[in-house]
Symmetry: D2
């Protein structure tokens, strides 16, 4: 059994909603057990992460980067870094903001650099945009065009579940692919 943690912070519920779809995708693969964890809860006990084989990190994009709350969680992993306890695990990232591009790529790059510091390996979002195969834009997987990780778009003030069908489907295939890649790896 491979253990996966999906770790997120959500200011207004959008990233939490997306995280649930990532979990659903990851858990759909036989042999994977998935926990959904809040970044603010992990801050006081980051060592819990050493029990997992794979980590998926999700944060809203606030002014071009992860949220302050999420960065505080990241900083709390300094002891894990010193003891090299996350080395060799698999990692991935996702983020949400209100615009199509919206400087979400810089958030994903921040998550990537953090996971590299920990010696983890990275899996992105390896899907051709669905609209290139004729799927309507709102329903297409990877419709925004992001490969370093998963991007989704949610309007300010919109209900937490108000994502396009394409973004929710993207979250599921992203989570499922992460799980599948993790299954390819022996300890």
């Amino acid at each position: 059994m491979k253990k996966i943690a999906v770790i997120y912070h959500s200011g207004h519920g959008h990233t939490a909603h997306l995280a649930q779809h990532v979990v659903q995708g990851a858990a759909s693969v036989a042999g994977s057990a998935v926990d959904l964890l809040r970044a603010e809860d992990l801050r006081s006990q980051p060592e819990a992460l050493s029990a997992y084989d794979g980590l998926i990190l999700g944060s809203p994009t606030y002014l071009g980067g992860v949220s302050g709350t999420f960065k505080h969680f990241m900083d709390a992993t300094g002891g894990l870094w010193r003891r090299q306890q996350l080395v060799g695990k698999l990692a991935a990232g996702f983020t949400v903001s209100s615009l199509p591009a919206g400087d979400k790529q810089s958030t994903l790059l921040s998550l990537f650099v953090f996971c590299m510091q920990h010696g983890m390996m990275w899996v992105g979002n390896p899907f051709l945009p669905g609209q290139h195969q004729g799927v309507p834009y709102d329903e297409a997987v990877n419709r925004l065009g992001s490969w370093s990780g998963l991007m989704a778009q949610a309007a300010h003030g919109a209900p937490a579940e108000a994502f396009s069908p394409g973004d929710l489907r993207s979250a599921e295939v992203f989570g499922r692919n992460f799980s599948e890649q993790l299954q390819r790896m022996s300890a």
Copy 2:
């Protein structure tokens, strides 16, 4: 009079078309003279750039970065770097790809790092997305949400001029703002 060069490479005409709208915006400001230059022509005579007060760099995004042709031009400026001939000039960047996000931010960051190496200053794309003020998405300025530089979207195989009205208007206000900021600066 402030002299501005808009330097671009275009594989299929889209970036060239956008560059013309950037030129139009930049030239609309009194006291600015704007030249449109092809990156491949500058490769053999990069020292021509030392005559300008401001440089606006434009490349398509190919697989997450500037085009090889544009990078060859960038590499040809090594002599200007050694002689520090671009220090203190103003710079900006723009890029085109076929998807809303499409890893265009990493292209803009590459252009930024290059201009920093040359000791230039950078002006981005300081416009609130128009759709937040009720403008229809296709007509909105900065509709994709990019601040580090200008982004525009053009479909593969589409005619070179097939941009949304919002992207073309974005190019014009981006060029005009660059010119206005340059006018604020004394030599």
Copy 3:
């Protein structure tokens, strides 16, 4: 008179010490007044920043990015963003970590993207590394080789003032250049 704020967070005093040298450089230019501000103090009153013409941001690099404390300050500027109160100001960034490269460039890129979101202009660290002109490595300006902003190196557990002479001199010329560039700009 041009007003400059140097805004920093410091976990163990190193970034605070470097910030003082940045202030010293910036204040050495006639017509510039410089305030040294703590990020954690600004979090409750970010609107104080609207009174400045230029902002210099400094954070330690923690696991490849700004500190959580600094990011919380950055997030607190959301109201300034909505009201576009920092547009057109000049910005720059600096960071400290314990290794020569140490993923400090990703921290500087994060600060850059943030300032772009606010519509500010950016000035980097436009200095040829002094060791290329025969200055001993420890005493050389820009000895680490960073142009997007200022980098300095401080060992874990070392006293707060234990920087190489080159890094302290780099901080001063970086601050002075920022001030000089700001003087070039009319309101």
Copy 4:
């Protein structure tokens, strides 16, 4: 048997020399066969890459990014992208410049974004800097402090083999670790 390609461009021999040490490390793992390929040779036949299980990309850092020659090779993989022929392979990157930091991280991020576009997975440089364990700086593994990929330093005009012992050892452990991680992955 796992097949690995180390693909490089070298302007003056330094990156070629480092690439040989990466190859040596990668080939030291049982069950791995390693080919050393020149980017300029692959440009006309990029489809050769589809035969490999893992790709390690190496370029000098020229003005903050990969060389123009290396980018031309990258652009030549567009057909592989459309046919999704590199999806699921393992990738890593390395770069050389003349300064300790030297904007090498932006080069590594460019290589990462490119490999993500191709749907590959990424392994970094997961080694604690040796000087933290008392190894002399010049002999220490990961002495510059880079985790997203391998960095090495070579002075302009120095002989191609004039790397510090630490950088050469870093290249070997980086190559070996890549090979080991690839062995962990089933097809």
